[in-house]
Subunit: 167 residues, 2 copies
C-alpha cells in the first residue's frame, strides 16, 4: 500500500483550506469585538509589495484548485477575483473545497507520472513530472499562501494559534 | 504506481529546507549590504508573542526530522536549540537534511498505516494513523514554519520572492 495523489492533494488541501476558513471567521469576530472595519484585515499585508490577505486567500484557493485540475487533466473553473469581505473569501474557500472533492479519484489515479506544464510568463512554461509537481509546486504553493494569510491575521492581533492552523 | 511516504516527506521537506537555507543566505547578504547586524533578522518576529526567525528555523528542522523519525519508528537525534547566527541556522538545516536523507526507505515503507503518537502536553497525546499524520501534522507544520521564516525575512525588507521559496 502507498499513498494516492488524492490523499496528498485533495484531502490535504481541503482540510487546510477549511482551517483557513475558520481562521478568517476568527478574524471577523476579532474586528467586531474591537469595533474596527473588517476590510482593514482584508487589505492588510506584511510588506508594501506583498499581496494583501484577500489575494493570499484567492491564491490559496486557486493553487489548490488548479494544481488538482492539472494533475487530473481537467480544465478548472475560473473564479473571479472580486471578493471584498471575509464572508466572500470564506465562500470562495467553500466553493474551492467543493470543487476539490468533486474531482473523481479515477482522474487522479496514476497522475504522479503525468507530464504537467505550468504557464510561467509569455511563451514560458515550467515542466514537471506529476510527482515533482506535487512536491515542488502544489504543496509548497498552497501552504505558502495559507500560512501567509495566517501570518497577516496574527500580525494584526487576531487571537489565533498553530492549533487553529492545524485544525 | 502510487506515491511513497519517502517522496512526500523526506524528499519534499529536504527540498524546501534547502530553499529555506538559500533564503537565509539572502537575509545575511541583505544585512551586510545594508550594514546592519544580522542578529536583528535572527531575533525578528511578526508579533510580540510569536517565535522569532531563529525558532521558526529550528522548528522547521525539528518538525521535519521528528515527523520522519516517527513515521520510520526511529528515535530522532536531538539538536540543541543554541543557534545565534544565520550561519548556525543554515548548519542546522544542513544537518537536518543529512538526517532526512539517511533514513532508510525501507523504514518508511508502509508507514502510512502505522499508529503515530505525538506528545501534546503532560499526560496528553495526539494519536494519528500514518497517513493522517502526514496530511494534518507533518506537511502543514513543516510548511507553516518555513513560510513564517520567509515572511519574517520579507517583512524586514529582504529582497526575496516566491521563486526563492519554491527553489
Amino acid at each position: 500500500m502507498k499513498i494516492s495523489v488524492q490523499a496528498v492533494t485533495v484531502d490535504t488541501f481541503a482540510h487546510s483550506l477549511s482551517c483557513l476558513s475558520a481562521l478568517l471567521e476568527k478574524g471577523l469576530a476579532h474586528s467586531i469585538a474591537r469595533k474596527f472595519d473588517p476590510s482593514v484585515l482584508v487589505t492588510a499585508r506584511l510588506a508594501p509589495d506583498m499581496f494583501p490577505l484577500s489575494r493570499q486567500v484567492q491564491l490559496s484557493c486557486d493553487l489548490a484548485k488548479n494544481s488538482v485540475a492539472r494533475l487530473a487533466g481537467l480544465e478548472p473553473p475560473r473564479f473571479e477575483d472580486n471578493e471584498k469581505t471575509i464572508e466572500e473569501l470564506r465562500a470562495r474557500i467553500a466553493r474551492t473545497v467543493d470543487y476539490l472533492k468533486g474531482v473523481p479519484a479515477s482522474a487522479l489515479e496514476g497522475s504522479e507520472g503525468r507530464a504537467i506544464r505550468v504557464p510561467a510568463g509569455p511563451d514560458k512554461f515550467l515542466d514537471f513530472k506529476g510527482l515533482d509537481f506535487i512536491q515542488r509546486w502544489a504543496i509548497p504553493n498552497v501552504f505558502f499562501h495559507i500560512t501567509t494569510a495566517y501570518a497577516i491575521l496574527r500580525h494584526n492581533g487576531v487571537d489565533i494559534g498553530k492549533r487553529d492552523f492545524l485544525g
